[in-house]
Symmetry: C2
Subunit: 538 residues, 2 copies
C-alpha cells in the first residue's frame, strides 16, 4: 500500500459512490444468542470454578493441568468436537506455592518488636524448606559491578532489595467505566513515531536486565543468603507480584524471593537506615513440580462448519495466570466468556458455515508463548533467527528475519477474537488499523449498542494473544472494555479474585463474542485483512 493508502481508504469510506455493501446481520440468530446469554447464562459457573475451585493457574503448574482437563470436560459436555490439548515445546518447569509467611522477630527500642509482615513469593523462586531466620541487610544492585561490594557479606542474611518508595495518593476513583467523552477520546489515532531508536534502547535494556538477573540469582546462592524481599509494585497493601528465579531447568532459580506490601517494606528500609538491627523469619512452601523442562498446553475445541468447514474463525483467551490471586480478571474472565460463547452457540443450535475454534492459551504471562507457538505451527511464522543474541530476545524485539513462511491454513483463516483486558463490560472493539474491518464491526455491534457496546476505534491495542495473529498479518482483535479496577487493584495482584468481577459484564461480553464469531463464520467472505509489513501493496 502506498504512502497515502490510508487516506484513500478513509475517503472511500466517506464517499457513498464507493461505499461497501452494508454488512448483513442475522438478527434472528443474534436475538437467540442474547436470550441464551442474558437469561440462561452459565458464565459465572465457569468463572467460579476456574477461580475458586481450581485457583490460580501458573503456566505448567498442577492447577493449570487441572484447568486444561476441566475445560476439556466442559467442551465435551457441551458437544464440541476436536477437543484436545496441544503442546508447545520447551516452556520450562512448573511451580506452585502453598504458603508464605514473614515475621519481624525483633526491632524497636527494646529490640523485641514482633509483627507479621505481608509478602508473597515470586513465581519460580525456591521455597525455604522450613522457616529460616536471619538478620536483614539492604542490598541495592543496579548493575553487575554492584555485586562486588556485597561479596562475603550475605551469608545467613535476609536481603532487602532496593529502596523505599514514596506513597502515591489515589487521585482518581479506583474503578473506572467509560463515558461518552472517554469513548470519543478513543477515536483519536496517534500517528506513530519512528520506533527504531526506541527499539534499540529496549533491546539493550532487556539484554542487560536478563544478564543481571541471572548473575544475581547465582551470586545470592553462592554467597549463601537465605531469602530476599522486594517491594510490591503497588501501594495500599496490595501485593503485585510476577516471576523471579528461573523456570528453566539447569538455570539457577536463585534464593527464595518475596514481594512485600510497601507499607511493611518501607519501614524495614527506614529501620536499617537508622541502624536499628532487624531480624526476620521467612517461611515459604514452594516447589518446582518438574525436574526437566516440559511443554506447555493450550486447550482447543471446535464447532465444525458446514459448507466451508476448512475455513476457520477463532476465539480465545489465556487460561494461565499469575499465582498470588486466583487469576480472575486476568484471565478467568476471558476464558469464561469465550467458553460461554461456545456454549451459547451450541445451545441456540447455530450452524455456522465456517469452523469456529476456541483456544484457551497457556504461557501468555511469559510472553504470549502458547498462542505464538500455535500460530507458528498452524498459520505462519517468520524464520527463526540464527544469531544467538537475536534468539534470546522475545519476538517483539527481534530484527526481521526474512519473508513470512505461510502454512497451508494461512489462506483459510478468517479472524481471531481475544479477551484479556480484565472483567469489565465490552464498550466496542479496537480495529488494529484495519479500516476495512470497521464497517463490519459497526454492523455487528449495532445489536449491542443498547448494552453499552458502541465504539469501533482505529487504534491498536497490544500485550496479549491477538498480537500473535496480527504479527503475521492475520486479523486478530481485542475488545474495548471498561477498566473497572483492573489497573488500580487487581492486575497481577493478590486481589485478582472473584469479588472484583461483575457478572452482568461477563454475560454481556459472552453475548457479543458469540454473535461476532457467528457472524464471521457465516458471512460471505473471509474477514478483510490489512496490509502487512513486506506486502508492498500486493
Amino acid at each position: 500500500m502506498g504512502k497515502w493508502g490510508v487516506l484513500a481508504i478513509a475517503l472511500a469510506l466517506s464517499n457513498p459512490a464507493v461505499a461497501q455493501r452494508a454488512e448483513p446481520v442475522d438478527l434472528d440468530m443474534v436475538s437467540k444468542i442474547r436470550q441464551e446469554a442474558f437469561h440462561r447464562s452459565q458464565v459465572m459457573d465457569t468463572f467460579s470454578h476456574l477461580t475458586e475451585s481450581i485457583g490460580p493457574r501458573l503456566t505448567n503448574s498442577p492447577a493449570m493441568s487441572q484447568a486444561n482437563a476441566w475445560t476439556r470436560g466442559k467442551f465435551n459436555e457441551w458437544g464440541l468436537v476436536n477437543v484436545h490439548d496441544e503442546a508447545f515445546e520447551d516452556f520450562g518447569r512448573g511451580w506452585e506455592f502453598t504458603s508464605a509467611s514473614v515475621l519481624m522477630l525483633g526491632s524497636g527500642p527494646q529490640g523485641d518488636r514482633m509483627q507479621p509482615l505481608h509478602a508473597l513469593p515470586k513465581a519460580w523462586t525456591p521455597g525455604t524448606n522450613g522457616p529460616v531466620e536471619g538478620e536483614l541487610v539492604q542490598v541495592d544492585i543496579k548493575k553487575l559491578a554492584d555485586l562486588e561490594k556485597y561479596k562475603g557479606k550475605l551469608r545467613g542474611k535476609i536481603l532487602l532489595l532496593g529502596e523505599a518508595r514514596e506513597y502515591k495518593r489515589g487521585t482518581e476513583p479506583d474503578s473506572h467505566r467509560h463515558d461518552a467523552t472517554s469513548l470519543e477520546g478513543l477515536q483519536e489515532f496517534t500517528v506513530p513515531k519512528n520506533a527504531a531508536a526506541d527499539k534499540e534502547k529496549r533491546v539493550k535494556e532487556y539484554t542487560e536486565r536478563q544478564a543481571l538477573a541471572k548473575a544475581v540469582n547465582a551470586f545470592f546462592v553462592e554467597e549463601g543468603a537465605l531469602a530476599a524481599i522486594s517491594i510490591s509494585g503497588w501501594d495500599n497493601g496490595i501485593i503485585r507480584v510476577a516471576g523471579g528465579g528461573s523456570r528453566k531447568a539447569g538455570e539457577s532459580a536463585g534464593i527464595p524471593e518475596l514481594a512485600m506490601i510497601s507499607e511493611h517494606f518501607n519501614p524495614l528500609v527506614r529501620a536499617l537506615l537508622a541502624k536499628q538491627p532487624v531480624k526476620l523469619r521467612v517461611d515459604v512452601a514452594a516447589r518446582f513440580t518438574d525436574d526437566s523442562n516440559q511443554p506447555g498446553y493450550n486447550t482447543l475445541a471446535e464447532i465444525r462448519g458446514s459448507g466451508k468447514a476448512d475455513e476457520v474463525v477463532m476465539l480465545g483467551a489465556h487460561m494461565d495466570s499469575w499465582h498470588s490471586g486466583t487469576g480472575a480478571a486476568d484471565n478467568a474472565a476471558g476464558v469464561a466468556v469465550m467458553m460461554e460463547a461456545m456454549r451459547i452457540l451450541k445451545a441456540v443450535g447455530a450452524k455456522p458455515k465456517r469452523t469456529i475454534r476456541v483456544a484457551l492459551w497457556s504461557g501468555e504471562e511469559q510472553g504470549l508463548i502458547g498462542s505464538q507457538a500455535y500460530v507458528a505451527k498452524h498459520f505462519a511464522q517468520f524464520p527463526e533467527p540464527t544469531d544467538a543474541g537475536q534468539k534470546a530476545l522475545p519476538a517483539s524485539l527481534r530484527e526481521p528475519t526474512g519473508a513470512l513462511v505461510k502454512r497451508r491454513d494461512y489462506e483459510k483463516f478468517s479472524v481471531y477474537f481475544n479477551m484479556d483486558n480484565g472483567s469489565g463490560r465490552f464498550r466496542g472493539i479496537y480495529a488494529q488499523e484495519n479500516l476495512a474491518a470497521m464497517p463490519v464491526f459497526e454492523a455487528w455491534l449495532k445489536p449491542f449498542n443498547d448494552v453499552g457496546a458502541t465504539t469501533v476505534a482505529t487504534r491498536n491495542t497490544g500485550s496479549t494473544d491477538h498480537i500473535s495473529f496480527d504479527r503475521v498479518g492475520l486479523p486478530g482483535f481485542q475488545f474495548i472494555q471498561d477498566k473497572l479496577d483492573y489497573f488500580s487493584n487487581v492486575h497481577h495482584s493478590h486481589l485478582d479474585t472473584w469479588d472484583h468481577a461483575e457478572p452482568e459484564d461477563l454475560k454481556q461480553a459472552a453475548a457479543i463474542v458469540a454473535s461476532f464469531v457467528y457472524n464471521a463464520a457465516t458471512r460471505e467472505d473471509l474477514f478483510p485483512r490489512k496490509a502487512q509489513k513486506g506486502d508492498g501493496g500486493d
Copy 2:
C-alpha cells in the same frame, strides 16, 4: 439560656454596636512559632519513633507503656515540668499479638488446594497456643436464640462468622483534600432532630449486642470450637479490625478470632454453600499481658504559666491505638503534633500567663476512657448512676443523673484542643456551637490562612477526646482536617502506617496548635464557654 438565645448571639455578632473588641494576636510570637515549626521541625522524628520503633499501642499493652515512658522522656528532655503518668482505674488487661497466619489446607475438586489467607486477630481474643487445624463451618448468630441450633456441632471446628459481602466499587478517589466548595459546605449547620427516640433504640441495640457478645464468647468456648473468622470491615485487601473477646479479667475472652480480607473470606462462604469441605490451619500468637485488671495511664506535662499559673489551657491527643497497623494516622499523628507544639513553645522561649498542659490519652479507642476519667477527676462529672443497667452503658448513652459536680479547677479551666481526625492538614476548626468562640478562632487562624487553614464552622464534631470536656460544659475543640485516605484506607486498618501520612501537613498542624494554645494562654480572659444543659441561662 432562653429559647432564642442562639439567635440573639447571632444578631449580636452581626451588629457592630455590640461587636466584641477585635481579638489581639501576638504576630511576633506567631512568626517565631512558624519559623520553628516549618524550618526546624522534629514532628516526623516523634511520629516515626511512635509508629515504627514502638509500633501499635493498644491500651495497657507493653508497647503503650513504652510509649508512656518514651514520651515522658522527650517532655523532660525538652524542659517541660510536672511530667508524669496519671492512672485511670479499672481499664482491664493488656493484650498483644506477635504473629498470625491462616492457611487453607484443602478445598477444590481434588480437595488439595492450599493458599495462605490474610487475616489478623481481634484484640483481646486469645491466641491458639500453636497451630490448630479444623474443618470450616459457617455460623450465623444474630440473636441469642440462634445459639441453640449450633449446640453440639462446633467441637474441633473453625467457625466462619456471618455472610459474604458484595464488593463495593470505589466511586471516589481514595484520598480527599478540601476545596473551596467543600469548606463552604461546612458552614451549614443542621438543626438537630429530637434524639430521644433514636437514643432509646441505640440503648436497646447496645445492650443486646453486649449481651449477645458475652453469650457467644462463652458458648464457643463451651462447645470447643478452635477459632473464628469474621470479614474485615473494608474491601480491597484491607484488614480493618478492632477488639473482640473481653479485656476484663473474669469475663470469657472467647476463642481466637480473626478478621480476614473480604477477597479471602467471601470464597470460603461460597465454598461452604457449594458443599465443598474446607480445612484451615490457624496459628495466632497472642497473649493477655496481665492476669488482673489494671489501670490505664495518660501521660501529662506542662509549661507553667507566669501570672495566671493556676489557670490552664490544655492540648492533647490519644496515644493508644488499635493493633493491626502502627497507629499512625490514628493517632501517632495527633500525639506527634501536640508534642511538637510543646517543643516549639519551649524552643521559641514562650512565657505564657496561663499554664499550658499537654495530655496524651489512653483508652480512647475503648470509649474516651482516659480523657473522661481525667476530666472527672480534675474538672467536673455528672454523678455516677446507681442503676446497674445505666452503669453498664457508656456515658454517651446514659440518662441524666443530676446536676454536674464541679471540682475546684473547673472555673480555672480555659480551653482544650484535640487532634484525632487522621494526619491531614488543618483547614480550620469546628466551634461546637460556641458562637462566642468564632471571632476568636477567626483572629487566631488568620496568620495561617496562607497554609490552608481558613474555616471556622459552627458545627459539632464528635467521637474523640474533646467530647470529654464538651460534655461537662468546658470548651473543647477539634480541628477541621483534610481527610486524605483516613476513611478509605487507614482508619483502624493494617494500613494505618507511616507512609500514609504527609510530613508537611503535620508541620502545619503543629504550628497552628502551638499558636492557638499560646494565644489562649496569654489572652486577657479565659476562653468563652457556651451554655450547657441545665444552665438555664445562668
